[in-house]
């Protein structure tokens, strides 16, 4: 797909009302804590709310993509891969589309950085931090839990740290990102589906509750 629109001039971002905001899963924090287990067959689930997320469109292989990559200090990821680490990452979403993920509060800065790099070229950068919330699923049994809901082959031979995929968990579209070998995963889900996805995950985790 070709990106045709020129980069718009920067507009001032509104002040974020961080004091008044609520995350989609904050009302279930205690429940997630209670249903998480440790040990050899343990699995833990919690929300990582308010991560900064920038949706990036850039023509693949063009001058724009190297400029953006330089400005971020990270190579743009190859297919189904993540470049960077959990604190500063770019995820592959499509042939001309990536998702920049960073800790809470970084969106405005990242947006300015990327748009400066894109100036005069093609592409776009949009703050989509409010689109999805993030779940972190980790522990020795985490892969077994995901396998109940996901049709991808998550065995280490085909999916490992630094891999990502947009896929279905149950009936929900998610961005699935494996962070480490434990295994630990980030599951990025649209806010309105988060409750339903947590229901599915807790159900899949139930068998590991007693050890």
């Amino acid at each position: 797909m070709t990106v045709l629109n020129k980069v718009e001039s920067e507009t001032a971002a509104p002040e974020t009302a961080t004091a008044a905001r609520h995350s989609p899963l904050e009302h279930r924090a205690a429940e997630l804590e209670r249903r998480s287990t440790s040990g050899a067959r343990g699995v833990r689930l919690h929300e990582e709310p308010f991560l900064s997320q920038i949706n990036l469109r850039t023509p693949p292989g063009g001058v724009e993509s190297s400029a953006v990559s330089d400005s971020l200090g990270l190579p743009l990821p190859t297919v189904n891969r993540v470049s960077g680490d959990e604190h500063h990452a770019v995820l592959w979403l499509g042939p001309d589309e990536s998702l920049i993920v960073a800790p809470d509060g970084r969106a405005e800065h990242l947006l300015r950085t990327v748009r400066d790099a894109q100036r005069g070229g093609s592409g776009s950068a949009v703050d989509v931090s409010a689109n999805r919330t993030t779940l972190r699923l980790s522990g020795p049994a985490a892969r077994e839990v995901l396998e109940k809901l996901c049709s991808l082959d998550l065995h280490p031979r085909s999916f490992g740290p630094g891999d990502c995929a947009q896929t279905l968990l149950g009936r929900v579209i998610v961005v699935l990102w494996q962070l480490d070998r434990e295994p630990g995963y980030r599951i990025m889900v649209r806010c309105s589906f988060a409750d339903y996805l947590v229901d599915l995950l807790l159900d899949a985790m139930a068998e590991f509750l007693d050890g």
Partner: protein, 89 residues
């Protein structure tokens, strides 16, 4: 359940896709020149072969890209020889 090969993401479950019908149906060069029958033909009439069929799919739950593939309508076998013509759309 079919395994569909997205040219970008690789083999994925059929449930991640939506079907887009026959591929390579060109928009008429000058629609105003068509009479009603020809316009109706363009809008609604599609090939329905037994065997190889070029068709459009979209990876809805994945990369959201449209692509074409060749499917055998009798066996559901999908050819890895994806027609390249419209991939850029």
């Amino acid at each position: 359940m079919l395994l569909v090969r997205c040219p970008w993401c690789g083999d994925r479950d059929e449930a991640e896709f939506r079907y887009g019908g026959q591929a390579d149906v060109d928009y008429p060069a000058d629609p105003h020149q068509l009479d009603d029958a020809a316009w109706g033909e363009y809008l609604f009439v599609r090939a329905n072969p037994l065997g190889s069929f070029n068709e459009r799919w979209v990876h809805t739950a994945g990369c959201r890209r449209w692509f074409s593939l060749v499917r055998d309508t009798a066996t559901n076998e999908m050819s890895p020889d994806i027609p390249r013509r419209r991939e850029s759309r």
